[in-house]
Symmetry: C2
Subunit: 217 residues, 2 copies
DNA sequence: TAGATTGTTAATCGATTAACAATC
DNA sequence: TAGATTGTTAATCGATTAACAATC
C-alpha cells in the first residue's frame, strides 16, 4: 500500500464495487479502460476514480488508461481476497443456512469450516458437506482449528455471550448479521455488520420521501 | 419535515440506527435522554445528534433532553414505518426463503403479499401462509394487486428482464439483493441495495489491514 | 433563580471535484 | 510528434464539530 497512509472509510466502501464492475468488464472481454469510461459506467467522476486508485499506487498509464486484468489483480490483493481465512457459522436458522449455502466464501478468501446451532433439530444436517454441530462443541472445535472469523446469524439476545466466548477463544473478526453492537464492547475487533432491517427501513424512508415530498415543491 | 429541505445521505444512513437504539432504550424502561448520553451510547458526538434530529424538527426541550417515546414516534413517522406498502418477493431460493420467513416486514410498514419463483420445485409451498407461485403468474398478480415494492432475490443474469417487467407493471420500489445495478437504467426508482458479497469483501479488507498494517508503523 | 441542555450559527475538517503538468 | 490520459496539486463543496445564546 502506497506509503501506508490511512485509507478513509469513504474509499474503503467503494472498493468492493470497483472490484465487482472491473470483473464484469473483464468477463465481457474488455482489456483496458480509462477513468472517464469507468466513471460513466459506475456513475462516479473520473477524478474520484483516479484519486481512489492512487491511494494504493499508480496502476495506470498516461495516454492509455488502465489495464483491466492488472487492476483486478491489484484490487484482489488490496482486498486480501487471496489470503486464506477460515470461518465458522454460528446459527443455522433460515438466514444462516442461506448464507452458508449461497455465499461464495472462497472467492473472498474465506473457507467455511464449521457450522453450529443450539437447536438439536439441525444436528447432523450437512450444508456443503459441513455438518451442523451443537453449540456445546464450539469451544473444542475452536481450540483445535483456530478459525479466523465467525459469521453471526443468531438472535441479538444470544449474541453478547456468544461473542464473549468466541473472543476468549481467539476469534478477532466477525461478519455480524445480528443486532448486537460488537464494536461497543470490543472496539479493537474486525467487524462488518449486515443490518437487513436497517436497509428495509431506509427503503421505507426513500419511498415515503419520493411520494410525499415530490408533490408540492 | 422541517422546511422540506433535502436530507443528506449521511443523515439518512444514520436514521435506522437511531430508531433501533431508541427502541432498545425504551424497552429498557428509559423515559428521557440527553444528546450527550445518547452520543456516549451510540459512539457519536452530541453535536451530530442534535444536528441530525434538527433536520426534522425540534424534538427536545432545553434543560431536559429528549423524551424517548416521543422520539420513537417521530422517527417512525420520518421513516414512514406506519404507512402501509405491499410487497412481493421474486426468487424463493435459500436467501429469498430466509428473508420471507425471518424479516419482520410489518414493523417497517411492509406487507408481503406474494412470492414467485421460476423453479416449479417450489410451487405451492407456503411461507408464512403465502404460497409460492410461478414466474408466469407475476403479470396477472401485479395487475390485480398493484404491489408497491419488490424484493429481488434472484441471480444477476435474470434481474434485468425481471426489473423491466416489474417496472412495466407499475412497481417503483425495489429491495435489491441481486448484483444488478437498477439505478443505472432507472435512476428515478426507489432502491435499497443489499450486497452481501461486498460486505464480506469489506471484512476481508479490514482483516488484511489489521494484520499486515499494524506490524510496522 | 440556577443549572442543564437544547437549537442554531460559526469554525473546522475531510472528501470530492477541477485543473493541469507529466508522460506514455 | 500530437493526442490522450494519468497522477497530483489546488479549489470547492459538504459534513462534522465546537461554541454559545436561548430557554426550559
Amino acid at each position: 500500500m502506497k506509503g501506508n497512509k490511512e485509507i478513509s472509510s469513504s474509499v474503503i466502501s467503494r472498493l468492493p464495487r470497483y472490484y465487482r464492475f472491473l470483473c464484469e468488464l473483464y468477463n465481457n472481454g474488455l482489456k483496458r479502460i480509462s477513468s472517464k469510461e469507468l466513471a460513466e459506467i459506475m456513475g462516479l467522476t473520473a477524478s474520484q476514480i483516479r484519486q481512489d486508485f492512487n491511494c494504493f499506487g499508480g496502476f495506470g498509464q498516461q495516454g492509455y488508461g488502465y489495464n483491466i486484468e492488472q487492476l483486478i489483480e491489484e484490487f484482489a490483493a488490496i482486498l486480501g481476497l487471496n489470503e486464506l481465512k477460515t470461518a465458522i457459522l454460528i446459527g443455522a436458522g433460515n438466514l444462516g443456512r442461506a448464507v452458508a449455502s449461497q455465499m461464495s466464501f472462497e472467492d473472498k478468501g474465506f473457507k467455511l469450516i464449521g457450522i453450529f446451532d443450539c437447536d438439536p433439530l439441525y444436528k447432523g444436517i450437512k450444508i456443503r458437506d459441513i455438518p451442523i454441530s451443537g453449540d456445546d462443541s464450539i469451544t473444542e472445535f475452536c481450540k483445535g482449528n483456530e478459525p479466523d472469523m465467525a459469521v453471526l446469524c443468531l438472535p441479538a439476545d444470544k449474541a453478547p455471550d456468544m461473542v464473549d466466548l468466541l473472543v476468549s477463544l481467539g476469534i478477532k473478526s466477525f461478519w455480524n448479521f445480528s443486532h448486537y453492537d460488537i464494536h461497543r464492547k470490543y472496539p479493537e475487533l474486525n467487524v462488518a455488520n449486515v443490518h437487513l432491517s436497517d436497509s428495509l427501513m431506509t427503503l421505507s424512508f426513500i419511498i415515503k420521501n419520493s411520494t410525499s415530498g415530490d408533490n408540492n415543491d
